[in-house]
């Protein structure tokens, strides 16, 4: 795949991913990942210090399905929505069928009552693979938030 095509396909993947979350189609969200994936939400500080814990840590697509099921069936939180603004992917490595890329993001959270806040800003640190069917999927997505602060609660994934 040439560089421009890679970039285009990554950007399309990211915009599909963002639209899925922002449109509250969370049941489809795990499908952006391969089955043996890593999804983690952490902070730039934790990565800098080598701290492994995240506010969300999943090492399987099934865990992501559980996350969605919990949000739908178990957890209590005020109605809210996200708007992801996702920047241009920056490919840092492309080898052995995997694309390593980092992509800046900004998420504005709008609460039930109309209150809007910049909820999270940071980088997606991704390892993207091509499935047998030719689709791009995340083998790893580390959501590295610039701030160590998570206001009130983080229900919807980033």
């Amino acid at each position: 795949m040439d560089a421009a095509a890679t970039l285009f396909r990554l950007a399309a993947l990211n915009s599909d991913y963002a639209a899925c979350i922002d449109a509250d189609r969370l049941e489809d969200w795990p499908d952006f990942f391969v089955e043996a994936c890593v999804y983690k939400i952490t902070t730039a500080d934790n990565l800098r210090h080598g701290y492994a814990a995240g506010v969300i840590y999943a090492d399987s697509q099934a865990m992501l399905r559980d996350r969605v099921a919990a949000l739908r069936q178990a957890n209590i939180y005020e109605r809210q929505s996200y708007r992801h603004i996702v920047g241009m992917p920056r490919v840092t490595e492309e080898a052995a069928g995997a694309i390593v890329a980092e992509t800046p993001f900004l998420v504005v959270r709008t609460m039930r009552d109309g209150q809007m806040d910049i909820f999270a800003v940071g980088r997606y640190l991704d390892r993207v693979v091509t499935t047998a069917g030719g689709a791009l999927r995340f083998a790893e997505r580390i959501v590295a938030c610039d701030s160590p602060r998570f206001d009130t609660l983080l229900a919807i994934p980033l």
Binding site: I41, T42, T43, D45, N46, H49, Y51, A52, A53, G54, V55, I56, Y57, A58, D59, S60, A62, M63, R65, D66, R67, A69, A70, Q73, A74, N75, I76, Y77, E78, P148, R149, F150, D151, T152, L153, L154, A155
Partner: protein
């Protein structure tokens, strides 16, 4: 003068509060004068406050910035393993002495005018003290030893560093009492490592969170995730240990499950769903303390929470940020000798707690629901009567005994 004014206000405000532990006027969560009085009477009073972990400051010169109520403080490792703590405020013009969260220094230098402090918090040099070219400088009579940030006494247990601003606080062991000290040592029995940090700003008065953590009654009702996966149920063994003075608590849940668990069905509560995990490895817990206690939530008055949720260990520090705001500082820990499998287990189980926790997510918003609900209810009273009117240890978690313990201690400190 300022503190006299605060005292008068607090007394005036406190007058209508009838004795007892089962009613709390909502004004205590909303009145700026109460918050001011708390700083003087609790945070700068004869209590011990969690500052950091010993693991945060292993070597001489390592420091960590922390808070005692609204007061910024520095905890630092001094000579021969000693731990010092002092107010993070330059004696000159009041600037922060350290403005990073942590670091390692030989001495502290205030950025504003380069006044320097040793690791004990003693002012040890003043830039241009003798002036320049014989002009300017400090008066000859100025004595550095008469100036410096307020110092805290420090004490440790199980690698937790506590500080007190009181001249003569009780020994930490007496402050905690034997039962709570034993419950701390149960978890923190060998060297720990930090594995992650997060800050969770909450839109509520700090006391609403302090109560929430001591409120074993809500745990199985607000948090569906726990009950559904039988991580805690009223019908399991467990109970609440409250220190003799009511200040501190430890709740425990024993792993034993009952074969026919009908409590939730009988009460027609929403908690008893058939919800099951696709990937149950989340709950692949091991009994690492060898006593079958799956959950232990422990508080040290006023602002420390020590958490063992299966194999997810963390300390949480409550930092007040105004009458209707606080920060919860989460520090996730593991043991230094963890196997890789155990460390992975801790990372997975961290999904249960924190800002995105399957279990504690609701605790993030519930205090805000109260704060908003009581906006026009200064004179109304909350009802805290589950399990009686006193604050002793009880062999059940269907009780608010530890919450009453908080208020027993709070009222004693506050004179309210």
């Amino acid at each position: 003068m300022a503190s006299a004014t605060v005292d008068q206000q607090a007394e005036t405000i406190g007058t209508p509060w009838a004795p007892g532990l089962t009613r709390v006027p909502y004004r205590v969560y909303q009145d700026p004068a109460i918050l001011q009085a708390e700083q003087k009477r609790i945070f700068e009073g004869p209590a011990w406050h969690f500052l950091c972990l010993e693991a945060d400051i292993p070597h001489q010169g390592d420091y960590r910035a922390s808070f005692v109520g609204g007061m910024p403080v520095i905890a630092v490792r001094g000579e021969a393993g000693a731990i010092h703590a002092f107010e993070n405020r330059c004696a000159h013009r009041g600037a922060l002495i350290a403005f990073e969260d942590a670091g390692s220094v030989k001495e502290f230098t205030c950025a504003y005018h380069a006044w320097r402090y040793d690791l004990r918090g003693n002012l040890c040099s003043i830039a241009f003290q003798r002036g320049v070219g014989g002009k300017g400088g400090m008066p000859a009579a100025f004595q550095m030893q008469d100036h410096g940030p307020r110092k805290l006494r420090t004490a440790t247990i199980g690698g937790l560093v506590f500080g007190s601003l009181a001249d003569d606080p009780p020994p930490l062991a007496d402050y905690l009492g034997p039962d709570i000290a034993a419950r701390i040592r149960r978890v923190l029995h060998k060297p720990v490592e930090v594995i992650g940090r997060f800050v969770q700003p909450l839109p509520n008065n700090w006391k609403l969170y302090a109560e929430n953590v001591k409120d074993t009654y809500h745990a199985s009702l607000l948090h569906l995730f726990f009950t559904t996966f039988r991580i805690t149920r009223f019908s399991q063994a467990g109970g609440v240990t409250v220190s003799a003075d009511g200040a501190h608590h430890a709740s425990a849940t024993i792993a034993k499950l009952e074969a026919h668990d009908s409590v939730y069905k009988d009460e027609a509560l929403r908690s008893d769903s058939e919800f099951r995990l696709h990937d149950p490895s989340l709950l692949d817990a091991v009994d690492e303390f060898g006593d079958s206690i799956q959950l232990q939530i422990l508080t040290v008055f006023p602002t420390l929470v020590l958490q063992q949720v299966h194999n997810c260990l963390a300390v949480r520090q409550i930092v007040p940020r105004g009458v209707d705001a606080m920060d919860l500082h989460w520090t996730y820990i593991g043991f230094a000798d963890d196997t890789k499998a155990m460390r992975t287990r801790r990372l997975k189980q961290a999904n249960l707690v924190g800002p995105a926790g399957y279990v504690s997510m609701e605790d993030g918003c519930i205090g805000g629901f109260v704060q908003r609900g009581i906006a026009a209810a200064d004179d109304a009273l909350s009802v805290i009567e589950m399990g009686g009117a006193t604050a002793e240890s009880q062999p059940t978690r269907a009780t608010e005994t530890a919450v009453r313990g908080f208020w027993q201690t709070y009222r004693a400190y506050m004179g309210l």
